[in-house]
């Protein structure tokens, strides 16, 4: 059992506030992903959980115990760093054994634990190598192995896949998911990549400027984003934002049905469908991208509002032409003047 709770965490460096009051709960076995643009404080938050930074105010609780004053080593967390931070002068075995040695574990027990972890991560034949003799994916697995052997309460990942190439990233993502299923441990994962967040997380925490914008399952975030920031951040290609006036010009009926206080609406490119001429938004096509099954159309509405739509690749319009579009029913997100969902 390992639960994690953050209570109104604030972190200030000199005079800049990086984290502005974050509350967060993770139940045992949760895979929580902290996601946000660079500089949003997600890595700092992770380091505060790890104990590598101390919170200026607020409390960190692990298993209901306040651990603010507990050192990084004694919190029972293990961390996988972005650069892997493998000890370059030690072999793979020594890298994985180092933590256990420090904890005073018996030599034979260390051997057993490291061998077991190596087997799980398919590192068996590599134990005597130095990190420089390994590929990116193998280093990544050693870094994870180093975390696993100590049987930590909570795993912390700091953008562990960002140094891998695209193909390897996809396969490592699947491996991490599998690892989480097998270990059943609580994991906190930091990334700036929303695809990674969507595929891995039980729960996503979207951060901006040191504040939580929204917490929820990937589905919740995608289907009911709390504000324009989350709506724009989650989903690819990015959600379109259309001012109410522009929507009213094309689809007066739809605009009529929106809640009071709606300032603009969010329309995901994949939810836009071709409509009969004169019965939708008139998009002046500026550019098209052929993606295989689908095509991305980029253009502007009347009034210069930019819009992107994913359409059937067979029906890709010519550049400079006009494409009539309407959103699928129920796929219109209404946002108020402050950006919040209404």
């Amino acid at each position: 059992m390992a639960t994690l709770e953050l209570r109104s965490i604030v972190k200030t460096f000199d005079r800049t506030t990086v984290i502005r009051g974050v509350d967060l709960q993770a139940a045992h076995g949760d895979f929580v992903v902290l996601v946000g643009p660079s500089g949003c404080g997600k890595s700092t938050l992770l380091r505060i959980i790890a104990g590598l930074e101390s919170a200026s105010t607020g409390e960190v609780l692990i298993d209901g115990q306040r651990v603010n004053e507990v050192g990084a080593a004694d919190r029972g967390c293990a961390m996988v760093f972005q650069s892997y931070a493998l000890y370059p002068h030690m072999t793979v075995y020594a890298n994985m054994a180092f933590g256990l040695e420090n904890a005073g574990v018996d030599k034979r027990e260390i051997r057993r634990l490291v061998d077991a972890a190596a087997q799980m991560l398919r590192l068996d034949g590599l134990l005597e190598r130095k990190p420089t003799q390994l590929s990116g994916g193998q280093r990544q697995r050693v870094a994870i192995g180093r975390a696993i052997v100590r049987d930590p309460k909570i795993f912390l990942f700091d953008e562990p896949l960002s140094n891998l190439d695209a193909e390897l990233r996809v396969s490592m993502r699947a491996e991490l998911r599998e690892l989480h299923r097998r270990l059943g441990a609580t994991m906190v994962y930091v990334t700036h990549d929303q695809v990674e967040a969507m595929t891995l997380a039980d729960r996503i925490v979207v951060l901006r400027d040191g504040c939580i914008e929204q917490t929820g399952t990937p589905r919740e975030l995608y289907e009911r984003p709390a504000n324009t920031f989350v709506a724009g951040f989650i989903g690819s290609p990015r959600m379109n934002f259309v001012p109410l006036a522009a929507l009213r010009a094309g689809l007066p009926g739809l605009a009529q049905g929106l809640p009071v206080g709606t300032h603009e609406v969010g329309l995901r490119p994949e939810h836009l469908r071709p409509a009969p001429a004169g019965q939708g938004l008139a998009l002046t096509v500026q550019a098209t991208e052929y993606l295989g099954a689908q095509g991305l159309v980029r253009g502007t509405l009347a009034g210069g509002v930019r819009l992107e739509a994913l359409v059937d690749a067979q029906a890709l319009p010519s550049e400079g032409g006009t494409l009539w579009l309407a959103p699928e029913t129920g796929q219109v997100h209404a946002f108020g003047a402050d950006g919040a969902r209404v």
Partner: protein, 351 residues
Amino acid sequence: MNVLAFLTRTRGRRLDWTDALTYVYLVVGLFTMFAPVAWLVMSSFKTEAALAQFPPTFLPYTQKTVAVPGHDKPLPLFRVADPAGGPGATRELAQVSRIGIMATMVDPASPQQTVQVNIRERQPVQEIRFEASNYTDLFGKFTFGRYLWNSTFITVVATALTLLVNSMAAFALSKYRFPGRNAVFLLIIATLMIPPTISLVPVFLVINSVGLLNSLWGVILPAIATPTGVFLLRQYMLTIPDELLEAARMDHASEWRIYWRIILPLSAPALAVLAIFSVMWRWNDFLLPLIVLSKSEVFTLQLALNSFQGELNTQWHYLLAMTVITLLPVTLVFAFLQRHITTGIASAGVK
């Protein structure tokens, strides 16, 4: 073959005039720098008499001697004109004694018959002989072994302590954030501006008052904390990523363990450079031992060399042999570790 290829290398494919110039420059440089050392080594194998000889020779020549029956000591051999053999013929005679300009000489083949020869009519018979006794005597006659031990002890212990103390200071200055860190670092660097001769008297007073005069520790302790070493190691440790330390902290490592297991092994190249510097500094140090060590049993080699130069009488053959032995360790260090030394000088800007 490799040596030949190395020695005949050129810039391009053909011998350019710049190649010729380079070779001339290198040969002249080699000669001016290496000749005195070669002369020293050769002279250290000469006998006392050969050293006093004028004109001096490069190779260690000694007068040949022969054992002649009826004489206790071997007699020096001379080449004398042989009137019986016709003009230009010579024979070799041993000198028994000499009075004024006349020498009493004897043919080693027939020892009973003595001949009177004017000393101007004979030439000493010389042979090349390396006088190893210059070296062996050092260990027998003098407390040279003691000096060698003192020098070695000071060098080894001071170097080990230098590495330990400087790396700890550098670790703190490079990896911990604490108030006054930059001030402390600047203060350490600022001491580079003070010539050692300035602090010599205060150092002496301190050593005196803690009772370390005439103790090897009196030479070791003042020398172990060097600003150069701290600077060199700190600059190197700054390049070690902080994430490694954080990983180690997550791995339950104590700060001491991080220093010992992570920082020190990763600083090995910089430590090697500092070790080389320290060995050279301590081994060649003269001024500090001179004021701290005044009893001959605690002399270092450098001090012993100095004391060999008496006011009235200098035993040059021993002095030269001792100089060669004193040069050896530093020469070996240079020969085998020159690559590290050059990188060290390049990275720290010191020598």
